[in-house]
Symmetry: D2
Amino acid sequence: MFLPEIAKLGHVALVTPDLEKSLWFFRDVIGLEVTEEVDETIYLRAWGDFEHHSLSLTAGEKGYVDHIGWRTKRPEDVEGFARLLTKAGTEVKWIEAETERGQGVAIRFQLPSQHTFELYYDVEKPVVEEGRRSVLKNQTYKSWNRGVSPRRFDHVNIHTSTDASLTYEFLENQLGFKMREFLKDDDNQTIAGWMSVTPLVHDVAVLSKPQAPTPARLHHIAYWSDNMQDILRAADILKEQGINFIGPGKHGISQAMYLYVMDPGSGCRVELFSGGYLIFEPDWDPIEWTMEERSVGNTYWGESVQDKPENNITIEA
Amino acid sequence: MFLPEIAKLGHVALVTPDLEKSLWFFRDVIGLEVTEEVDETIYLRAWGDFEHHSLSLTAGEKGYVDHIGWRTKRPEDVEGFARLLTKAGTEVKWIEAETERGQGVAIRFQLPSQHTFELYYDVEKPVVEEGRRSVLKNQTYKSWNRGVSPRRFDHVNIHTSTDASLTYEFLENQLGFKMREFLKDDDNQTIAGWMSVTPLVHDVAVLSKPQAPTPARLHHIAYWSDNMQDILRAADILKEQGINFIGPGKHGISQAMYLYVMDPGSGCRVELFSGGYLIFEPDWDPIEWTMEERSVGNTYWGESVQDKPENNITIEA
Amino acid sequence: MFLPEIAKLGHVALVTPDLEKSLWFFRDVIGLEVTEEVDETIYLRAWGDFEHHSLSLTAGEKGYVDHIGWRTKRPEDVEGFARLLTKAGTEVKWIEAETERGQGVAIRFQLPSQHTFELYYDVEKPVVEEGRRSVLKNQTYKSWNRGVSPRRFDHVNIHTSTDASLTYEFLENQLGFKMREFLKDDDNQTIAGWMSVTPLVHDVAVLSKPQAPTPARLHHIAYWSDNMQDILRAADILKEQGINFIGPGKHGISQAMYLYVMDPGSGCRVELFSGGYLIFEPDWDPIEWTMEERSVGNTYWGESVQDKPENNITIEA
Amino acid sequence: MFLPEIAKLGHVALVTPDLEKSLWFFRDVIGLEVTEEVDETIYLRAWGDFEHHSLSLTAGEKGYVDHIGWRTKRPEDVEGFARLLTKAGTEVKWIEAETERGQGVAIRFQLPSQHTFELYYDVEKPVVEEGRRSVLKNQTYKSWNRGVSPRRFDHVNIHTSTDASLTYEFLENQLGFKMREFLKDDDNQTIAGWMSVTPLVHDVAVLSKPQAPTPARLHHIAYWSDNMQDILRAADILKEQGINFIGPGKHGISQAMYLYVMDPGSGCRVELFSGGYLIFEPDWDPIEWTMEERSVGNTYWGESVQDKPENNITIEA
């Protein structure tokens, strides 16, 4: 049987109550590049991102994630997923081309966790104008142009107050994600799962948070830098801007070296990270972490996200 | 139609006229870990490799590559490839399980370039004994144990005196590789191709070298480190051991930051590198480099491999 | 008037109840080199230290610092200091040459804080045997030989329950130290001072700790590494050995990027650090930090030493 | 006898035929901060420099160094040096306060090599305005604000066609410099000397170049960065600006990891470097390098300055 496939995480569509501040944060502090500004939406990407955007900012009444976009492997996979999902009882909404600038026809639907995923194939890869374009043919923008300057968009971390097991199942069976690492509670329930369609340890992490204020929440989006030293440099840059953060530290789970910082405009948390590892093995045995091992899984070393109350703040997604 | 797939590069089987010196180089200087020593073959892997071995060393009369091993995506892909290749006129040889320690049944065949590839699926992932095992559940050995200490095996770079276009075609059509970047000569012939089955820019690079002493040659195998600083540290370590190398530098093609050093036992060159980029786009447009752009493609900055006569030495493969 | 001068911090003489464990920690984990073992004292130094030793380990009933050694600028300064100190009412004890291996005649005396300082000029700089000697003529040992592998000994941090102002005064007026940065409490009393005779921000830090169990305590000794990435690598190495630590983080005061780890043999804390800054200005205006600024002075970013109870453990000095 | 002393290298006064381009290079590419612009001279310094400026740019007909400024240890040392130098037959010229913005009264004189040195003590340390000022009390500007962003001015490297031995002697006997490392030719003549008044391996290097077009030349000025990774980042930044350079590499002499890049306005070469070592020993035995050892002294690893013809270009000084 032919199965449609997701190729990669594409972008997050973020709504912010303070567009100017969010733009300052993502462009001037994090150092993303603005691709285009159309109809009150600002499209951004990192210097090593290839698609039209990995983040969009739209003004709104509060900070929340409108949807999380994923690119399919083949053009026909969008319709393939529409068919499969509809058949499985998931409501699928078709989105016209150019609803989002640079992007072709897409579908949107909700995970059991109520997070909205978008699937598309067609997307522009705009060539950058002279002066901002990298001298390297395989790189989009000049690197190190401004602020932290991470290389590329990496993953999203979402929380849900619903039964997370339904979402793990949905991601595996409907969307083809593989579980890479997971955390079990003392009742043997998976309460956190790191899943991917790529060799990255995770394109998405889903955490069970029964006490979350609404069913679907975003904990953070993540941008990746080549070197751990780049994360330490980011720490200096953020402090010089008067912006606090959690980290640096290294997760046991995923082996990511991290810094967590919040966009003061939208409340969206950004993980700046380097390191991690790649999984090329086709028969990967998901790594199980018990509650006893949780603390080393969360914090191999460094400032722990666990001890910081601000780490519990999430935005609606 | 069902198509068998390759999941990843697995290992290189290296023959060396000075086993002791090669072992010193790969274990004590590069810092690989010995998995097992069986029947005069020593199996090694990096601390972040998961399979039984990414390199085997066997004593022989001269230094050469016996074969390059690749793991398939599914168990049935080994036979799937055997069928397809045979049908396409390629001679396929079946290799019994445990011919190579830790590995199941496999097939071997020659590329048009006369390099021997091996395909297998079953492979042991030995659990490491206490003391050498990492405290992290998702990592094989303790890191930073000895010498350069790279994280994982990455790619092979092979040369051929045969018509390279046949090999590019074979890799694409028979084995499912995608061209990621390539260099064209002034007659519009591709004379170097960087190809992969994974999001790595290349799992294998194939270079046309009409003057090569034998049809199939190995230019280098590559191990990857997390940080560019780790490569600079490697430079210090190598010099302290009285070992010369080329680099550090950064390739334009693949964006790899590199150091090239030769195993004094076998003559096998090793690239120690960090950086590079990942390709998740399903419709990647291969990056074309012309002869005019060749020098920046080869050396974005740093010590050029081009100027160094020792860079032309290859071993039979 | 001729004034004797101190050139630099030389070494710390550490007594440990578990010599074997301390040797394992300092040699195998931290990666110091053993210069000599004489009469039950083991002498160690970092690969970039030039004197005979920067640390000595001697077995004893408990972990404590016997003395802190400083090298004078000229041979005659040892006697010069003896005269000045005696005249100022400080009891000076002469130490015969070779009491400590490799070292000439010296004097010992107590600061007002009751810490024992030693001053000497003559000291051996043993040439290292082939194999361990660096290939660089300006470097003592091969670098990166084992464990963390810091470059050089840097400073000591001492605590006192006595009136610290007397010690600041003594260091300035009797020994020629300059105050570089200091912390004032709300009564305008200096409760921490970072002082040096060199362009380093501090060769010694003295902290007022009225509740300390004995008058003279050691908080830590510090070894310096060239790159911040080296400190992150140290974090991995320590965790793989099952050793906990505080950090990484960056102090506002001194700008040092740090990791604090304890020798499990003696209880002596070691700061592994990189960064910091140099003071060449002859009219340096000491940087004053108020209680309000204390937290950023202590922790510019990263895991704070302040929140960790284990940070309060000190050993007698 | 009372001897005046030099505390540190202060600044280089550079004349450039293309002020705009030099300003672009030093401010926008290297990332220095402009302190002030007065009377057609632009004063710059690095984010970690404390004095009013470490570089001044003045428009002129060609690129050359007007003088090299050094700060004395005590106010009275300026006159002390004037007296000593005059007595020794060196012509001393008094410079009025504020001839150079921010600087008090000074003297200027020529070394035997005909390089003009300036000695001063009084100098402003302007407090930076809010917004550009670092949040750290011990740091001048926010770091990582723009371009390469090195921490501080470090040293100068000068060439002379005169008998260099006279200049080594003058620097030692008249100015108090210590020889740290030196290169001897086969006739046992010192043809390169690395000398300092601080614990840095060199504040100034003097090279004998009998064929130099004029007696006094500048090879480069140097700015220092905290981490070797910062130098690799600089390489990326320079290439993205279309600027070529030599390196990265590591000198055996001084152990500096380097990149050499030329200001396209003035022709003044800048060394961007990290690493190196500090000499605190009062009885430092200068490291001698023979012609046989010269190549490892020049290039421990990496792209060699020796092979590059552009390395021979110097400007008048």
